[in-house]
Symmetry: C2
Subunit: 260 residues, 2 copies
Amino acid sequence: MSRTAIIAGQGVLPGLLAEALDNPAVYAVEGFAPGIPARSFRYERLVPLLDQLAADGIGRVVFAGAVRRPRLDPEAFDPRTAALVPRVAAAMGRGDDALLRELIAIFEEWDLTVVGAEAIRPDLIAAAGVLAGSPSAADRADAARAAEILSVTGPLDIGQGCVVAGGLCLAIETLPGTAPMLDFVARTRAERRGGVLFKAPKPGQDRRIDLPAIGPETITQASAAGLSGIAWAAGGVLVLDGAAMVAAAEKAGLFLWARD
Amino acid sequence: MSRTAIIAGQGVLPGLLAEALDNPAVYAVEGFAPGIPARSFRYERLVPLLDQLAADGIGRVVFAGAVRRPRLDPEAFDPRTAALVPRVAAAMGRGDDALLRELIAIFEEWDLTVVGAEAIRPDLIAAAGVLAGSPSAADRADAARAAEILSVTGPLDIGQGCVVAGGLCLAIETLPGTAPMLDFVARTRAERRGGVLFKAPKPGQDRRIDLPAIGPETITQASAAGLSGIAWAAGGVLVLDGAAMVAAAEKAGLFLWARD
C-alpha cells in the first residue's frame, strides 16, 4: 500500500493529520513550521518535489495548513518547474481558488491522488449543532445575513469569512485571512459589542484544499473583537482541537455554532 | 424662493455646498464639525428639526458630509420622533442604504425637496478620463476586477469601495469606511506595492445621499497603502477639491482615473 504525503504549511493541522496516518511523509513549504518533523521544499522546485514523492513511494497527498503566497526567487527555479510558471501565474491572477485547483491538477498529472483533510480526519468536521454557549435570535439573524453575504462573494473567490453585527457587515475576509480581519474589527468598532464571525467554504470550491478552519486562537481573536460568537457552515469548516475550542469559548462567553 | 438647508456631517463637503448657495441654513449633527457655522441638532429630536426647517422657510434639503451611526440616548427623544423609531430601526437593520432612503422619505413627508450634492455643485463630479498620472495595463485590469466585485457586493448594501492588486482583492469597504480599509491594507500587505483603490456608488442606490467621495486625504491614505492609484466610476463619485487632489496625486506618484 502506498504512503500518504502531507504537504504542510503553518499551524496544527499537519500534526493532526500525521497522528491519524500510518508512516506519513511530511514535506513542508520552506519558511513554514508545521510543528512536526518534515523535509522542506521550495515552490521554485516543485517538479523535483514531485519526483521525490514518486521515489518515496507516495501515492496519496493531502495539503494541510496555512500558506501565505510566497515571493518567488527567479534564480531558484529548476528548468522543469520554470516551464510551469506561465500556467501557475495565469491561475494566480484568477484568485486563490484557481491557483489551488491548478496545483491539484499538477499533482494529479504526476499520478498522485489528492485528498482533503476531512478524508483523513473526518472527526475534524463538526456535525450541525451548537457546541458552546447559546446564539440569541439576533446572533442567528446575523449568521443568516453573513451566510447570504458569503454566498454572493464566494463566486468572486473572495475570502471564506465575514463579520456581521446587528445586521451590518463589519468586515469581509480577503487575502490576509481571518486573524487580520478580526483585528480590523477590534480596531475599528467603537464600544459596541456583539456580532458573529461566520466561516464557510466558497460555493463550488474544491474541498480537498483550503477548507476554512477555526481553532482555539480564533476564539481569542473573536473575543478581542467583541463578538458574541462564531458560526460556520456545518460540514464545511475544519474545527481544529474542538475540545480546546469549546473550553475556550465557554470561558470567553462565546457561542460556537455549526449552522445547517 | 425658498431657502436650502444643508444637513451637515463631518468634512469639507458642507462648506463646498454653502459656497454655491444663496443664504443657506446649516444644521449639523451634534458631535460633527462641518467647518462652517451651523445650528446643531440630535437625531433623537428629528421631528422638532423638521418643524424648525419649516419655520426657517426651508424648501430644499441637501445631506452633506460623513456621519457615523450615532448611539442614541433613549431619554433624549421627543414623543413624535420616538414614534418614528420602529420605522427607522427596521430600515437600519437592512443596511445603510435602506436607512438613508427612510430618512429621505421622512424629509419628503414634511414637504421638503431632497437633492443631492451634485445638483448644487455639479463641478464636484469629474468627467471620465485620467486626471493625474497614467494607469498601467495591470492597473486597468485591477480596476476592472474591482468594478466587478463592487457590482456584486453593492446589492448587499456593503461599502462603496475595494482594493485590488495583481487581480487579488485585498479589502472590501464595510461600515468603518475608506480610511480604515486603506489602513488595513497598509498594515497587512508585505513589502509588495501596487494596486488600485476603486470607488463606486452601489448599483441602484439613491444618489441624493451617501454618494461616495474622495479628497486629498484619500491620496495620502492610498499612498501609505502602497497603491498605484485611485479609480472610480465616472459620474458616480464626488471629487472634493479636485485641484488639490491632482497636485497631491502627482506629488505622490499616484494616478487618478474617472473610469467609464
